[in-house]
């Protein structure tokens, strides 16, 4: 993936197995979010291939990729603040409820029924993350705290039952305890839904160690290494990318 003269992703070769939780780490500007944007169709890659579930989805539109079963959250929360909690969650489930003009405007009684069903589904999902929010699903999202907004974003990504979920730095803007709590919630949800694959961008290594089954490290758009958390933490290349290299006496 190139932007003008800048190569943001280069020779990144990454395999993700079904049911995995893959941690994606790397210094700022190493191309983690760009990777998400390429896979979810926001950027059209200048080269390379994205294969999902046996299908080549390179260069597909974001809608088509969402329909194929890939969903995501954003690094900077992208909820529609003026819309209600229910509306925001419903956006993630929009495709299954596409009724057309007739179903939406003229057959109101049938619409009310599907609406009640959708509210039921959204409530079920919110209850898993924060039961306190169930009573206020018709309040605007703008009234919520950061952690609750993250929860709503995760609900929105999950309600459409995706096969692959991208979480772009869910800890951003939250305290350590809140992040831990959120991760526990994600893990417990994952235990209900074994086939769900998650790719997680995260800076806090503690969380990466606790949550992920595999990790990949990016630096300057290239993959440094991948493997289990233990193996990458011990890897000298990774330490160099993050902390710099120890200067030997000869060089001094």
């Amino acid at each position: 993936m190139r932007f003008g003269g800048l190569t943001a992703l280069d020779r990144l070769d990454l395999d993700i197995d079904e049911g995995d939780i893959l941690g994606l780490v790397g210094p700022n500007g190493s191309g983690k979010t760009t990777f998400f944007n390429v896979v979810t169709g926001i950027y059209r890659p200048t080269g390379g291939q994205v294969v999902f579930d046996g299908w080549d989805i390179t260069g597909f539109s974001p809608q088509a990729i969402f329909e194929a079963g890939i969903s995501r959250t954003f690094q900077r929360s992208r909820l529609c603040l003026e819309l209600s909690i229910f509306d925001n969650i419903m956006l993630g489930n929009f495709k299954t409820r596409d009724l057309g003009i007739c179903g939406n405007i003229f057959r109101r009684r049938a619409f009310h029924k599907t609406c009640a069903e959708e509210i039921e589904k959204a409530v079920e999902l919110i209850r898993l993350l924060n039961p306190a929010l169930v009573g206020s699903i018709h309040r605007p999202v703008a009234d919520l705290s950061m952690i609750d907004r993250r929860r709503i974003e995760i609900c929105r990504a999950l309600i459409g039952k995706p096969k692959l979920l991208f979480l772009d730095e869910p800890s951003a803007g939250m305290t350590h305890d809140e992040t831990n709590q959120l991760m526990d919630e994600i893990l417990s949800m994952k235990s209900d839904e074994r086939r769900l694959t998650i790719v997680l961008i995260e800076h806090e290594m503690g969380i990466i160690g606790k949550v992920t089954t595999r990790c990949a490290v990016l630096n300057f758009g290239e993959k440094l290494c991948d493997g289990t958390y233990r193996s990458i933490v011990g890897n000298p290349l990774v330490q160099e990318a993050y902390l710099g290299r120890e200067v030997t006496e000869d060089e001094v």
Partner: protein, 382 residues
């Protein structure tokens, strides 16, 4: 309807509102009009300072259907009071038709965020379509209303490509260019009457000629009563249509497209599809309103549909509150009636409009009656 007490409260409010409006419309000399305006402003300030507004809002929301019925009944009451007054009836009809047109713009800008600076052009296309069909074909007038809407939507789709390709200020410029272009075209086209415009036969429906005075039991009333009823019907239909769009997944998709195109696309919502839908639906509504308005005027020319009229439509939307349906109706009534009632300020009316819009943007950016969070079912939980 929760209980009878609520109903009487709503009825009391409606009665107060329509009594006030009746007095206001009936006022003739400028001093009494000014006094009524001050009375209205004072009444609103009193309600706000006593903190009665939230309670009233809750009452109206809990009894939405009943309130809508009361509003219609009150409007019919006003029409009945002024049954012989051509001028007031014509003003009322104008309010209804303009409201319907601005509700169309509301679907475009308020829901899907597609800016349209050529509202009056589509209004005019509706009118000219009706005129051409009525003059040259035996098409029934009711059908020409629909044709006005369809032509307006179809000609609007020419604009779709440049509007979708561009965004923000640029798409606004595209629609402005279209508005100017259309006006020049109408002025030079001999077939469409040039600057003199075209005359329209009256609306006829079920053997009723809308241009003849209404006769009930030997008493003659203004023919505008019939037009007012037709315009009110159009407004009610448009209102219901716009409200149902808002309270459906379509409204949700349009909101998502307006607020964040990228996020909407990531959740499978096609930005292009919903922008096209909103733009076309809006233009259709504007076209039908334009056709009916021209029949009421019985005569149209290009100067009825200038760029400043497009700006007026947008100002009404800003004043009432973008996305707010009741706000549109209230603001239209205000914008149409005030300059008509104060003949002195006629000449300065665009100055006053722009001052009001500026003040609105500074002091109350969400409009007179701001849009409420969406409820999918009338009277549902909030």
């Amino acid at each position: 309807m929760r209980n009878t007490k609520d109903f009487f409260r709503c009825a009391g409010l409606a009665l107060a509102l329509f009594a006030y409006l009746t007095l206001f419309f009936g006022a003739e000399d400028e001093w009494s009009i000014a006094a009524y305006v001050l009375l209205g402003v004072g009444g609103v300030i009193a309600l706000v300072s006593f903190g009665a507004l939230p309670a009233i809002e809750r009452l109206i929301q809990a009894n939405e259907r009943a309130c809508q019925a009361l509003m219609i009944a009150g409007t019919l009451g006003i029409i009945a009071v002024f049954r012989e007054d051509h001028y007031t009836l014509f003003l009322l009809g104008t309010i209804f038709v303009y409201s319907a047109a601005v509700l169309g713009i509301n679907v475009q800008l308020g829901y899907a965020g597609v800016i349209n600076f050529s509202g009056a052009s589509f209004f005019g296309i509706g009118g000219y379509t009706a005129a051409v069909f009525l003059q040259n074909t035996p098409a029934p007038p009711l059908l020409t209303l629909l044709l006005g809407g369809i032509f307006s939507a179809v000609i609007g789709s020419i604009l779709l490509f440049p509007v979708l390709r561009t965004s923000g200020h640029y798409s606004a410029l595209v629609t402005m260019a279209f508005a100017l272009l259309l006006k020049v075209f109408l002025e030079v086209s001999e077939w469409l009457g040039g600057p003199q415009g075209l005359a329209l036969p009256s609306l006829k429906f079920l053997g009723i000629d809308f241009a003849e005075d209404l006769v009930i039991m030997g008493n003659e009333y203004s023919f505008y009563v019939k037009y007012d009823l037709a315009c009110l019907l159009l407004l009610i239909m448009t209102f219901t249509f716009a409200q149902r769009i808002e309270r459906s997944w379509m409204g949700l998709a349009m909101d998502a497209v307006r607020i964040d195109e990228t996020a909407a696309a990531c959740f499978g919502i096609s930005v292009t599809r919903w922008k096209i839908t909103a733009f076309t639906m809006g233009n259709f509504v504007i076209g039908v309103a334009g056709a009916l308005y021209s029949m009421m005027l019985s005569y149209i020319n290009p100067s009825n549909f200038t760029f400043s009229d497009s700006l007026l439509f947008l100002s009404i939307l800003l004043l009432g509150g973008i996305g707010s349906l009741w706000g549109v109706i209230a603001a239209t009534a205000f914008m149409v009636v005030i300059p008509e009632k104060f003949q002195i300020i006629q000449e300065y009316r665009y100055l006053i409009y722009s001052a009001m819009v500026l003040m609105m943007i500074v002091f109350r950016p969400s409009g007179l009656l701001p849009r409420k969070p969406r409820r999918y079912i009338a009277g549902g939980p909030l």
